[in-house]
């Protein structure tokens, strides 16, 4: 069961929310639509569900076009950010809602609901009211309700967005296990890149209503296709420089640049915080690739070091506590900086 959309467009009050988006979510996998708020990712999900009607483009579920199929007939499961449980019904009746719509015999309904409450580990909570559950439990009921009707696809709209951080991480692991059991094709919308990278086999980065890049989490992280992706997915420092002799010259560092770029063009180098190595600048008064330690903060097992480069640009790096202790750094110390890796983007248009 796969999901595919083709050149999908949707405008709200004249503003494009989604423009000409095409992507495919492979069968049996979790695909994440990742993007900042207002990027159009939720609209995209709602278009797939049939909660919105596209202005142009087509939606395919399992290879069959269903652009004009009403939401009731799409056989999708949808989990909303704010659980959207029916407060006047018990947990049991919430899960049974879709089954009762399908007029299943009472015994079958009961069995299916029990099966699902077992699956979401809320077996003893059937007779409670949603208001009696915690946020995480409520969201699990919402999952059970969406799964009860055996949907062909599961669509999740920031399902953990309204929960606190600890519960969010717990539920993330829970969703992974759930998916391993159900193997249901899932499309997850999130703005949380950690969630996207951890949960999904396939990531589609959405920005301003368009797809910026799609691929596996590692591809997206290691080979961002655009400056937006490089800065949105994972932490990154941006250093500026120019193309000189066909290579990117960023301060004292020279990095390889894509072939065929114009001499003198502006270069943006995206450096991950762990792709920098530093050493103490012993004796050397002003080392070539030098920097001054401006700020140190320890976060759990790693240390964040903020450096001011000789060029005046700031660079934040992250190193393991062990390595940091060996250096015995303090604020104001001079260090030698080596860039182990960077992603270079050459600005099109007029260089200097």
């Amino acid at each position: 069961m796969s999901v595919r959309v083709e050149r999908l467009s949707k405008q709200f009050a004249g503003a494009a929310a989604v423009s000409e988006v095409s992507f495919a979510a492979p069968s049996g996998a979790i695909t994440t639509l990742l993007g900042p708020s207002g990027s159009g990712k939720t609209t995209l999900l709602r278009l797939i569900a049939g909660l919105e009607v596209p202005d142009a483009g087509r939606v395919f579920l399992d290879g069959r076009e269903c652009t004009r199929v009403p939401v009731q007939k799409r056989e999708v499961g949808f989990v909303f950010q704010g659980h959207a449980l029916f407060e006047h019904l018990t947990v049991h009746e919430n899960v049974a809602f879709g089954l009762r719509v399908r007029r299943l015999p009472a015994r079958e309904v009961g069995e299916r609901v029990d099966e699902l409450l077992e699956l979401v580990q809320l077996r003893d909570h059937g007779r409670r009211q949603p208001a009696q559950l915690s946020g995480g439990q409520r969201q699990r009921v919402a999952f059970a309700r969406a799964l009860a009707t055996r949907p062909r696809v599961l669509l999740l709209d920031e399902p953990f967005g309204a929960l606190d951080a600890r519960v969010r991480i717990e539920l993330r692991a829970w969703l992974r296990r759930l998916h391993e059991k159900t193997q249901l094709t899932t499309v997850l919308v999130t703005h949380d890149q950690e969630e996207a990278l951890e949960l999904s086999e396939h990531v589609v980065v959405v920005h301003e209503g368009r797809v910026e890049q799609s691929g596996t989490p590692l591809e997206i992280y290691d080979h961002p296709a655009s400056r937006f992706v490089a800065s949105f997915v994972g932490e990154a420092n941006v250093l500026h420089g120019h193309i000189r002799d066909g290579r990117a010259s960023v301060g004292p560092h020279t990095l390889s640049a894509p072939a065929g770029v114009r001499e003198g063009a502006t270069v943006h180098a995206f450096v991950r915080p762990h792709d920098v190595q530093i050493a103490r600048a012993n004796g050397v008064a002003a080392p070539l690739a030098g920097a001054v330690v401006e700020e140190l903060s320890r976060v759990g097992g790693s240390v964040k070091v903020a450096l001011r480069l000789n060029s005046g640009e700031r660079l934040t790096i992250r190193m393991a506590k062990g390595g940091f202790d060996g250096l015995r750094l303090a604020c104001g110390d001079r260090v030698q900086v080596e860039l182990k890796g960077a992603k270079i983007f050459v600005e099109e248009g007029i260089g200097i």
């Binding site: 049939g50 559950l133 309700r145």
Partner: protein, 289 residues
């Protein structure tokens, strides 16, 4: 006496952050007593100056019985009509955008603002034999003005804003995701209306209904013009009370008023109780971490 004091202390001991529970409760009781209970108590006291036989005669004459029947039934019918069309109006005002919506919204409140006598005269003019709707109705054998139907029309008119104004905010607050969730699960519009929206607005519907009903029971000004006030036929209880007072039969007037009061209280309390049951939610303290 001491045990009563400790019992009250126990009842009123609420550990909250906001101070003044006892003060505000005391004020509430005092205020309700002065504004509501004192006049009502005086009414009951005044009616007690009658002997039982006098009281029974005053409240159970055929004229009084006919008036109770008309007042309660017409009010109930008016409130029911308002329940249906008021909730429809609230629905249209919250769910759709159309030109003139603000105007329509403002119109809903007019029955609140208009002196009811003016409403009565206007309704009579419209529904009387030569009025602009009345003429067609009479031609078809339907008598509204100077008939029980006229009473219902007037009571519907004055009670309309209550249902609209209680249901409207609840509909506005209703999370659209609830309806969407039901739709994704396969529910059609009617099922969503019956299983998702109706239960959510039920308490508001009930209190709108109760308010509209209560308002209709007490209404006097608009009804006296359109009903024709024929004893045994189109005479409502408030008018009968007024007639008794005009005849210097204060005892009889208060006796009828007491019956009216008791009946209204029982009905309103009943509606309220239904609302409480419909709204009953488990206590928040049972929430599990």
């Amino acid at each position: 006496m001491r045990s009563v004091v400790t019992a009250i202390r126990k009842l009123t001991r609420r550990r909250g952050i906001l101070p003044g529970f006892r003060l505000t409760l005391g004020f509430t009781v005092l205020y309700l007593s002065l504004v509501v209970l004192l006049p009502l108590g005086a009414l009951v006291l005044r009616s007690m100056q009658l002997s039982w036989a006098q009281f029974a005669a005053a409240v159970s004459g055929p004229r009084a019985l006919a008036a109770y029947k008309l007042s309660f039934l017409a009010s109930l019918l008016g409130a029911l009509i308002n329940l249906v069309f008021g909730s429809l109006l609230a629905w249209v005002l919250t769910r759709y955008r159309f030109p003139g919506k603000e105007l329509a919204d403002a119109l809903v409140d007019l029955p609140f603002a208009l002196p009811t006598a003016v409403a009565g005269i206007a309704l009579t003019a419209v529904y009387a034999e030569h009025g602009f709707i009345g003429r067609h109705l009479v031609a078809n054998g339907i008598q509204v003005a100077f008939a029980p139907a006229g009473v219902v029309v007037a009571l519907t008119f004055v009670g309309l804003p209550f249902v609209v104004r209680t249901v409207q905010p609840v509909l506005l607050d209703l999370d659209p995701a609830l309806e969407e969730a039901a739709a994704v699960l396969g529910a059609g519009r009617l099922r969503i209306l019956a299983r998702v929206i109706a239960p959510a607005i039920l308490p508001a519907l009930l209190s709108g209904f109760a308010l509209s009903f209560a308002r209709a029971l007490g209404e006097y000004g608009s009804v006296v013009f359109i009903s024709g006030n024929m004893p045994l036929k189109t005479e409502i209880v408030p008018l009968l009370i007024f007639t008794r007072l005009e005849q210097y039969d204060v005892g009889g007037a208060t006796a009828i008023a007491v019956v009216m009061l008791a009946g209204s209280f029982v009905l309103l309390f009943g509606i309220h109780a239904i609302g409480m049951v419909a709204r009953r939610r488990p206590a928040r303290s049972e929430v599990l971490g």
